[in-house]
């Protein structure tokens, strides 16, 4: 019978790790469906916004604070997490509420990542408990900081394998007051990637470019002040040379379309494993073709493919010489990364051993 440990205080958490000899499974909001068969450390006890300076675009929060709470506090000041965290509950069939620590530890970036950057780009500082049970800090709460090694980036996307994040500081951005989305229907993946690339390669500051494979429909988003969005919508339509009608969704309708893309609504009810494949955008269409996908979302201008595949099948083999990587997010007990290069795998393993010499943090993950 596995036990669950929950701490309200960083020092207590550190004391626990100092004593601990057996592996632990670190959980936040449990929205990812991962289920390692170890005792659990529930991080939601460490919760609350520690510091928020809207005029400096920075926030500090305890890692177990829910994403919803963070987004509400930001919204009250007209600000947001610009990397638009992914929401995978429906696609993975999980309940639970994401925590900011979980979002950053999994580097979970949504559609705006193509323009604004990833979760890791917004993470400014961390406090964490390492495998010795020491509390370590790195980075800070200022936007420009090159003092020492950037362990902050290493922690983002490490899935808890290097340490238990206790506090995070991050950059936030103004929430746009207006938005519009161009919808181009009846195009295949090749044409879609052309349209998305052409849209990004303008002066119009496109903040989202995604393609729904089954609907054969590309979405191009513009955000900002009202007059500016109007001007850029018209300019972009004039610029694009596509042999199809271009429909425009404004404000709430635009937001609804992107909310559905962010939650992967197009495939969330399908059976099978959820795969996430990252390649260069122009390689996207051949991945779709090789996997024989008839549904799925191509986000990030075609460079990020979300698809459901029958359990037991892998998207990894078809990558071959194509640059990139693929991960099965439904693999409950052993989220594996590609690590095809043995020298890189060795470095990653050696780093993990330094941060977690007892090998107790989420063994099985990131193998």
């Amino acid at each position: 019978m596995s036990q669950t440990f929950k701490f309200k205080d960083e020092q207590d958490l550190a004391g626990f790790v100092q004593e601990r000899v057996d592996p632990v499974f670190i959980t936040g909001g449990q929205t990812r469906g991962v289920d390692l068969k170890h005792d659990r450390v529930d991080m939601t006890g460490l919760s609350g916004v520690v510091d928020y300076e809207p005029g400096a675009l920075t926030m500090v929060a305890k890692a177990g604070t829910t994403l919803q709470h963070i987004e509400e506090v930001l919204k009250a000041e007209g600000q947001q997490l610009a990397f638009e965290p992914t929401i995978l509950n429906t696609a993975l069939g999980t309940s639970g509420a994401s925590t900011i620590g979980g979002v950053l530890a999994t580097n979970a970036s949504g559609p705006r990542r193509i323009q604004a950057g990833a979760a890791r780009d917004f993470l400014l500082g961390v406090r964490y408990v390492d495998g010795h049970g020491n509390v370590i800090k790195n980075g800070g709460r200022v936007m420009k900081n090159v003092t020492g090694y950037d362990i902050v980036k290493l922690m983002a996307g490490s899935w808890g394998t290097l340490g238990l994040l206790s506090e995070v500081s991050f950059k936030v951005l103004p929430m746009p007051t207006a938005q519009a989305t161009l919808v181009i229907s009846g195009i295949n993946a090749d044409v879609a990637v052309d349209v998305m690339s052409a849209s990004l390669n303008t002066a119009f500051d496109v903040t989202g470019v995604a393609y729904d494979i089954a609907a054969q429909c590309a979405y191009v988003r513009l955000e900002g002040f009202e007059q500016s969005v109007k001007y850029r919508t018209k300019s972009l339509i004039d610029t694009l040379t596509v042999d199809r009608e271009i429909a425009v969704l404004e404000n709430d309708d635009s937001a609804a379309a992107w909310s559905s893309i962010r939650m992967l609504s197009a495939i969330s009810n399908q059976r099978g494993d959820l795969w996430k494949i990252s390649v260069r955008p122009t390689d996207g269409p051949q991945i779709v073709q090789k996997l024989g996908l008839i549904s799925g979302i191509m986000d990030w201008s075609g460079g990020l493919i979300w698809a459901k595949m029958d359990a037991g099948k892998t998207a990894r083999d078809i990558l071959g010489d194509i640059e990139g990587h693929a991960i099965n997010l439904s693999a409950k007990t052993g989220l594996k990364f590609s690590n095809t290069n043995p020298a890189l795998a060795h470095l990653q393993g050696a780093l993990r051993e330094k941060f977690d010499p007892k090998g107790i943090f989420n063994p099985g993950l990131m193998g």
Binding site: V142, Q227, S278
Partner: protein, 480 residues
């Protein structure tokens, strides 16, 4: 600034080391004539100089690997070098070290507009990356002020920033992949034209590691389409507090300017005497630049000016064309030169939370009186990155030491208010011994254990970044 004593055994093996490098590399790649190696005795922190044992200037990644492998086998310290523009002493050699410089590797390898990336050799200068794509209306965003001379290799090592980071981020946010040669001579491809890491984000920790984890010979960089235009507005205020509050209000109003630059009175006066940009004689001056089409610029500048007016500015000047924009930027761009006309100066680089600006400026002026040295402040106000310029006389006995002590006090102040020692220049040797002000011994140990993984013998640029006493056992542990 102390450097470790050179290893006598390594010095005594110079002929053997050079011979092995020569045997494995083309003739003109290895330089050991003291008349020629002298050119590599310092970087832009020129108060500190030391000629290296030898200099290796390879033409290819494979040659870099060959040189590193030999140095690793012979336990010879290596100092990587880009263009030698570091203000922190990042490329300062020791007498027992071999410099490996990437200056001869400056080709564009691939320019891929459809995926918005460019792949270059890292000896290429920052500005010439933009140069390779600007005819097609693209640019590479990070713009350190040394961009005409500095190399991408050094930008990656120091995670360089620039004036436009508020909107576009620093090097780390625009770097997608590297070819890294490890101290053992292994060539690793990390990242690429796709987004995000497979496994741990090694790219993230390599960027900003100051040449201590490997030598980066190729980089995949994100390029962006240029905005339609950009225009600045200049505002003068009679109090620093008010200028600070104005910056905060602009950001809170949802406007994201591409740059917000701040100058204080000593800097304004020096600049005015030097460049005659027509700046008002006031306590604090802001230059705020926004981007977009004419209509978008108008929309943003209207908002900004409305906010500024609520703070009773002593001057508001809105550029309506490129010529006026040029005049507004003239003073700011001449600021360092203007200060240099008055005396020698040391440029600091601490970052502070923007809300602490008035307090920090007041403390700096108090410290200035205490130390008897003048200081002017130029500041990337949007992101809190300060550049206090301390004036001193290099020819006056003890002035440099006094200036360094003053600088250290300012940097401690930055840490005290919740900021950091360096925002974009790097630690190098300059801030190495102040690291324990910002970090505990355990925090530093966590960083040093990363170097243990990449460079177990601590041969790569080892006397930098961390306090010498903290790294001594590791550096001494290397068998000679």
């Amino acid at each position: 600034m102390e450097m470790p004593a050179p290893d006598q055994f390594t010095l005594s093996r110079k002929a053997e080391i050079v011979a092995r490098l020569r045997a494995a590399l083309p003739a003109d790649v290895v330089i050991d004539d003291p008349a020629e190696t002298r050119a590599y005795e310092c970087d832009a922190l020129s108060a500190y100089r030391c000629p290296p044992l030898a200099v290796v200037l390879p033409y290819s990644t494979e040659e870099v690997a060959t040189a590193l492998k030999i140095c690793n086998e012979m336990n010879v310290p290596v100092v990587p070098r880009g263009a030698g523009t570091s203000l922190a002493g990042g490329a300062l050699p020791t007498a027992d070290s071999v410099i490996i410089g990437v200056a001869r590797m400056n080709e564009v390898l691939e320019c891929d507009y459809k995926n918005r990336v460019i792949r270059v050799q890292t000896g290429r200068t920052n500005l010439s990356v933009t140069g390779a794509v600007e005819a097609d209306d693209f640019f590479y965003a990070p713009d350190p002020s040394s961009q005409l001379a500095c190399a991408i290799a050094g930008n990656i090592a120091m995670n360089s920033g620039g004036a436009h980071c508020l909107k576009y981020g620093v090097t780390s946010n625009n770097l997608m992949g590297v070819k890294l040669v490890t101290m053992q001579g292994d060539i690793l491809d990390i990242g690429g034209s796709h987004l995000d890491a497979d496994g741990l984000d090694l790219l993230g920790v390599i960027c900003g590691s100051e040449g201590q984890l490997g030598i980066v010979t190729e980089a995949t960089l994100r390029i962006l389409h240029k905005p339609e235009g950009a225009l600045p507005v200049l505002m003068g205020f009679d109090r620093n507090e008010v200028a600070g509050a104005c910056v905060s209000d602009i950001i809170r109003a949802g406007v994201l300017p591409v740059a917000i630059e701040f100058m204080d009175r000593p800097c304004i006066r020096a600049t005015e005497a030097f460049a005659g940009a027509g700046y008002p004689d006031c306590e604090a001056l802001l230059i705020v630049e926004v981007e977009g089409s004419d209509l978008e610029i108008e929309e943003q500048l209207d908002k900004i000016l409305d906010i500024a007016k609520t703070h009773n500015p002593v001057e508001l000047r809105r550029a309506s064309d490129a010529a006026e924009a040029g005049r507004i930027w003239l003073g700011r761009k001449s600021a360092f030169g203007a200060m240099g006309q008055i005396n020698d100066y040391m440029c600091l680089d601490g970052t502070i939370p923007v809300s602490q600006l008035p307090y920090v400026l007041r403390r700096i002026s108090e410290l200035s009186a205490e130390f008897g040295l003048d200081v002017g402040n130029v500041f990337h106000a949007g992101d809190g990155n300060m550049h206090p310029l301390i004036l001193y006389n290099a020819n006056k006995e003890g002035d440099l030491e006094k200036c360094e002590a003053f600088g250290a006090e300012i940097l401690k102040l930055c840490v005290e208010v919740g900021g950091c020692l360096t925002g974009e220049h790097g630690v190098g040797i300059e801030k190495r011994d102040l690291m324990s002000v910002q970090f505990s011994a355990l925090d530093l140990e966590a960083q040093m254990q990363i170097k243990d993984v990449f460079d177990p013998k601590w041969l790569l640029n080892a006397a930098k970044v961390f306090p010498l006493d903290a790294t001594q056992s590791r550096r001494d542990g290397c068998p000679r």
